[in-house]
């Protein structure tokens, strides 16, 4: 099952900018095709639906450490490890904004 999700916030710039869309393949228990560096969408009990990059996978505790890529996004502030059960899915396609000048201004 696939979903389109809109990105808000700057944490994943320059890869993803606010206003970009991503095509997300829904996570199913037993889904093994997840690697460090993948972008994932998950539901966080405190911060709601988030998109982040996988930093470390801990198979024995069935959890992930996720990070942002922006320079201000140094650490996962109180995100904690993300249990597999909170995963919504993995980003498989990125729909970028076509207006390159707008992208440049957003990157500043």
């Amino acid at each position: 099952m696939l979903n389109i999700i809109k990105v808000t916030g700057n944490s994943l710039s320059p890869f993803f900018l606010p206003g970009d869309y991503v095509l997300v393949r829904n996570y199913r228990p037993g889904y093994k095709n997840l690697r460090v560096g993948n972008f994932v969408v998950f539901q966080h009990s405190e911060f709601g639906r988030l998109i982040k990059q996988v930093h470390t996978i801990y198979p024995e505790t069935k959890t992930l450490k996720v990070v942002g890529s922006h320079e201000k996004s140094i650490s996962s502030h109180k995100l904690g490890l993300i249990p597999y059960s909170d995963l919504i899915g993995k980003v498989i396609f990125h729909i970028k904004q076509s207006n390159t000048s707008k992208r440049r201004s957003l990157l500043k």
Binding site: G9, N10, K72, L79, G80
Partner: protein
């Protein structure tokens, strides 16, 4: 072109949003929150056992109280797990794991005892959760080079906790 098409659809039928918010590390970590949550789990187990020994099981108040104890036990067991995951994910670094190789197994044990404390009303599971989180607290304070002391919590169920000796 494709973006424009998606954007147009989004205007009429908004897609769900995912935040890529900027994080600011606060640096405030303390296992005491998890320890207190675990103590609460044992306290609820004790209250449940006490209530079950009474004779008024047909009274609606019995069911009301039992439901509340179970709900608090569920909630605090999950909160204890969450607090440990936050420290494990955000504070603990690879160098800490190298120095304390028992950490991954200990965190896994905490997750399991937390789940067992939700699934059952067995006090042994609650005690195991408190014990495992105390062990985690000992390592946490050792990483921060802060001495610890062990003392009984000044409230029921009065179990021994690991505290920083400041």
């Amino acid at each position: 072109m494709f973006y424009k098409l998606i954007q147009t659809i989004d205007r009429f039928h908004p897609f769900p949003k995912a935040k890529a918010h900027c994080d600011i590390p606060c640096g405030i970590y303390d296992p005491i929150t998890a320890q207190i949550n675990a103590l609460t789990v044992v306290r609820m187990m004790d209250l449940m056992a006490g209530l079950a020994e009474g004779d008024d099981k047909a009274v609606i108040d019995f069911h009301n109280s039992m439901s509340r104890y179970v709900a608090v036990k569920e909630d605090h067991a999950e909160k204890a797990k969450h607090e440990i995951r936050v420290i494990w994910g955000d504070f603990i670094k690879d160098t800490h794991v190298e120095k304390y190789p028992e950490l991954p197994g200990l965190v896994h044990k905490i997750m399991q005892f937390g789940s067992k404390s939700r699934q059952t009303a067995d006090r042994a599971n609650g005690l195991a959760l408190v014990d495992a989180i105390n062990q985690f607290a000992e390592i946490f304070w050792a990483i921060k080079d802060i001495k610890i002391k062990k003392a009984k919590a000044p409230y029921a169920p009065g179990l021994e906790l690991v505290y920083p000796d400041l």
